[in-house]
Symmetry: none
Subunit: 208 residues, 4 copies
DNA sequence: TATGAATGAGCCTTCATTCAT
DNA sequence: AATGAATGAAGGCTCATTCAT
């Protein structure tokens, strides 16, 4: 349905991969996200991918290696989705928050499997040792938000407050939407929803 | 066959249970929380519990049955921990929020394994069909918070706002603390932390 | 045909073993001896033993564990077969050599599989790390023969000679018979053959 | 398909062979000798040889074909090493024995891998059907020694004795040195050692 | 000649589960 | 209430081998 890669002329990450490798990682993404790592067998994956068992070990070194690979990819994509340098600097802090949250919600709705995988990895504790640090992702997002808050404080939009506390509160709120998308199967309109979130929180952030 | 729950009208969940059953469910709780359902074998559990394999099938019907049992227990305990009828009605809404959040944080720190299990179940998607509805827990907590907010609005403490939006924002913030406890191994002082959370949010909730 | 265990009232090594364990190790002995470790699959073994796969892992920990077990057993039995305290001290050194060699040849003919296994392990280099030291067996046999030679020298039967050199020569000659039994499928009458061996060595080649 | 051997009437076995073929057979020799046939994978071989999988099937027909090839080469080289036409006819029988044994010991020390391979094949029973007959090698060596003994008898150096019995005794003794070289990692000085062997056997054990 | 990619069969091992006692 | 022994199914992984280029 959504393949998250179609934006054509991106900087080439590892473009022109073998279609078999692609099929495996794509099937694995869906199955791992749906059933979890331990509940997904390599045979399930290759059946879904329409290839044979040894291909998994040819392209990835092991089941864990495959898992790490798709988790790393998902993590990179998630981080890109909220990268603030994609938001114009001319906006107000409020607007930049709205934009960031909206694109985050949009990403989560467009890439459910990737996000599900990341959340599983975050809470399941069965992280493969060589996978990307989920905590690292978390912290990076916190820093991105904190930067916006900081600039809002400096510009006088926001009152003086603990930006770490507030950033993590925002992360929590965003996380909650992810949960509602993934588990509750709710659907949100990213722009409107992000405005409501920010408005709610802003009534406390704004300098009145 | 399986006598998991039948001791009729007892409230205290594990009064006078067989010590073997106790040992199994306690070992399983730790292992499931640590390694996940699929990564924990029944043999691991009985080894840790110091008993033998058929005992699992005697007391619980299957691995899934055991999982459901401890998940149900964990869920029940979590819900108890935020039950608002434990908070005196004479308090302000702010105070009741603080109290609720503090006891939630306290519970999470005191029962890491149970909470880890619930979070896994929430996001892992491998819920056993007969387990407790994690979504049900979620909604119940939302309702508890919404009730407090509603009473705050009625008493004039809070401005008119969408109590569902705000409740879920609060749930998200609380959830975020759980993540930091479970995954980041951070430690919080429940009372102080809940005050900071509520203060941050209240500056937007209060009628200024 | 020959099961090497029938001498009833021996000191109990691990008597009254499970018949399943017995069947597995007996089937494994034959197959390992016939085809080698790497060419024998666990499935082959359980098929021949008339049991199921997990039983191998129940009684022995792994394929290697099973191999080590039967190798250790074979080694112990071989050493017993030449134990010199079974030979009366009243005999001449020549007679004791004859007796020892005869019983060695007899053992090898009666326990071809065990001996084949030991020779494989000796030369194949794929010894499992926890198996019995084949070199240890070798050295023990050398010492047994050296002791006989030494007593022959002391009693004046034998000339002064390097007993280690001579012991190892004898071992080599005996080993050669093993090879002819195992590989060449030759058959020997132990007593007669041992007399011919000892006579040759005792008199030497030279025309005196 | 397989061009393993067809270069007609060449004597020197690897003159003008493809370097890739050479690399494969040389890597295979070491790995087979070290780990055995079943424990060595074709991938191991090509990795060590620095080439790719299909090259094995191009130059040799199969893993078994490769094994046969290097076994045949090793056998040929071993037989050459004891060829009596390399020993001058003017020597005494004792001297010729010494020379033969010395060159055998020398060969074994200089070509451990080849000899290890032959011994494995001798006792492991997993000879590929089209490989060289190890028994044939054995018998040829016996005949070479028997010829020397026979000439010694005719010249009056040796007493009348069963030359087959004695030849095989000598083979056994030599074999034992091989085992000590291969397994015990002992080192011998070929000339001295062969003299001690021959002296022991020539004089015999008895006190005359 | 040489290779990257692919395959079917089989490997050793462990799983959740049950039976007889 | 508890156990040692047993099982069918499935697990992850590697094997020798071949195809298309």
């Amino acid at each position: 349905m959504c393949n998250g890669e179609e934006n054509s002329s991106e900087r080439l990450p590892d473009r022109q991969e073998s279609p078999v490798k692609e099929a495996i990682s794509s099937a694995a993404l869906e199955l791992f996200a749906q059933n979890g790592f331990g509940q997904t067998s390599v045979r399930d994956i290759v059946n879904k991918a329409g290839t044979t068992l040894p291909m998994v070990y040819y392209y990835f070194d092991s089941k864990q290696g495959l898992y790490s690979y798709i988790l790393r990819q998902a993590a990179a994509r998630l981080l890109d989705s909220t990268d603030p340098d994609q938001t114009r600097k001319s906006l107000t802090a409020i607007e930049r928050l709205e934009t960031g949250i909206a694109s985050f919600i949009h990403f989560c709705q467009a890439n459910e499997a990737e996000v599900q995988l990341i959340f599983q990895a975050w809470f399941a504790g069965d992280l493969p040792p060589d996978g990307p640090s989920i905590i690292g992702i978390y912290e990076k997002m916190v820093r991105q938000i904190a930067a916006i808050l900081q600039s809002g404080i400096e510009s006088g939009e926001f009152r003086e407050l603990d930006i770490w506390e507030a950033s993590q509160a925002l992360i929590g709120i965003m996380t909650n939407y992810v949960a509602r998308i993934l588990v509750g199967n709710e659907a949100f309109r990213p722009v409107e929803q992000s405005q409501r979130i920010v408005e709610l929180l802003a009534k406390g952030l704004e300098n009145t």
